[in-house]
Amino acid sequence: MSRDRTVPALAVACALLLAAAPLAPQWLVFLLALALAKGLVVLGLVLLMRTGLVSFGQGLYFGLGAYASALLANRAGLADAALMIVAGTACAAAVAAVLGLLLARYREIFFAMLSLAFSMILYGALVKSSALGSTDGFNLHAKAFAGVALAAGSERRLFYAVSVLLVFGVAWLLHRYLASHWGRLSAAIRDNELRVEYLGASVYRVVYLNYVAAGALAGMGGAFAALAVGHVDPETAYWTTSGEFVFIAILGGTGNVLAPFLSAAIFEGLRTVANQYAPNVWQMSLGIAMLAIIMFLPGGLWTLGRRGKAA
């Protein structure tokens, strides 16, 4: 039996990324911060996929998290990044707690399409609301972190370092969760809901909890992304954004909590390179990459290592 090296791997990755905070060039810090934010959303998606559900609407919570944190800074004047992250997460979790009551009853394409529909409602509302900048969105600027005022210029690096710590804390918690009874139960639900009920557990309750957790993670990712970019717009809730999360999840696979971050970093890196060198064919190259993954690595990039060991 192979030993689970996830926790040491998490620690090493965390240390490396932290070391990059003061050293890496600005563009790389930005890219990594965005990858971490999206990785968080995908982490939630992985939790849902382990339960057998694919959401094409995580943009809803990503957008909610981004707008909630941005509005707190701009309209309520509470431009403290720590508060903004809490607000983004809480807002998304609250909406997920309500919508989850309905969505936890649905499966497969119905679940996917309903979640997509809800995200498009938010997108439509954001586009129509001129007070929130309509399709342009608006800028935000955090002035402090947990009460400590931020020196201009260094805040991006600080947010990044904080993201690294928080994200890896969350990833570790999710790793523990997946390895616990609840994680096994989620996989059992994916395999056979009837048997889970006949063993005496509520499928609905587990699906609901996982849905709310995924929503909260997406909201937190949205807040991180808003802080990293310094701007929010309705695109955050658009279906292509949700599709991107699904893409990253499939690219990385659901085998490990590190996979979403690795995959998100590759995705953002690819996008950066492609934007520069092949702006017209970059989506096509993504499509080809997806085809290759589905055909040759159905378990995602994460299974590459395992294949090597098995061979």
Partner: protein, 242 residues
């Protein structure tokens, strides 16, 4: 002692098909009862009615004095009625050990790991522990399905054809394991079975179904010798097996 499970006037139809037509049965504590009958006679329907998967159109089913109809399978499992399935219902991507751990976790068993080891040992599945349930041989799938139903230490255990799809020489082995596991634990066992040798060997009482009705009920020798049973149940079986 009062019976643990009582069905009174239980009626269930699916369109024009009557799957249970006024069934009256009561089961004593710690008895081992076999339900026999041809395919479509209403045996599995009866199990589905008891476990809340189906709701009777009329009549009542009481467990320890508590009305069961209207409760979900999950709630009824919580009351202490567990079942296994004719087609094993497993978590195919999880290993045998994980399948059992899920069951242990749901039953909120203390020391789930050790309890799982004990079950693996008892059912002779140690060598399969790490295998995904989806890749098991049929006999082991069946065994795991039954073992999972036993994890919660039910008061009533319902087995739907525990030996179907199992090689002839393994059938007695499975039943011996199950009976060994429930012996002395105060469990009432109801098992649906087509193999009359198994019925004769393990059941203390046999209930024969035909067309949604109970046509015979009593000691195995008496029921298996009954003319109607021989014609409608055993005759049909011999015909189907031929």
């Amino acid at each position: 002692m009062n019976p643990i499970l009582v069905a009174e006037g239980v009626q269930k139809s699916f369109g024009a098909v009557t799957a249970a037509s006024g069934i009256n049965l009561s089961f004593e504590r710690e008895s081992v009862v076999s339900l026999i009958g041809a395919n479509g006679a209403g045996k599995t329907t009866f199990l589905n009615l008891v476990t809340g998967y189906l709701r009777p159109d009329r009549g009542s089913i009481r467990f320890d004095g508590r009305e069961l109809s209207g409760h979900s399978p999950r709630e009824i499992t919580g009351f202490g009625i567990c079942r296994s399935f004719q087609i094993p219902q497993l978590f195919h991507s999880l290993s045998v050990r994980e399948n059992l751990l899920v069951a242990e976790g749901i039953a909120a068993a203390e020391r789930a790991e050790e309890a799982t080891d004990a079950v693996l040992e008892r059912f002779g599945m140690v060598q399969y522990a790490a295998q995904p349930a989806g890749l098991l041989p049929e006999g082991i799938r069946k065994l795991l399905d039954v073992a999972m139903a036993l994890v919660a230490q039910p008061k009533v255990l319902l087995l739907d054809e525990p030996t179907s799809g199992v090689a002839a020489d393994e059938k007695f082995g499975i039943m011996d394991l199950v009976m060994g596991a429930v012996r002395g634990a105060g469990v009432t066992v109801l098992f649906v079975e087509h193999d009359m040798d198994i019925v004769a060997r393990y059941a203390g009482r046999v209930v024969a179904f035909y067309d949604g009705r109970v046509i015979a009920d009593g000691e195995p020798a008496k029921v298996l010798g009954d003319a109607e049973v021989r014609r409608y149940v055993i005759g049909e079986d011999a015909h189907a097996a031929a």
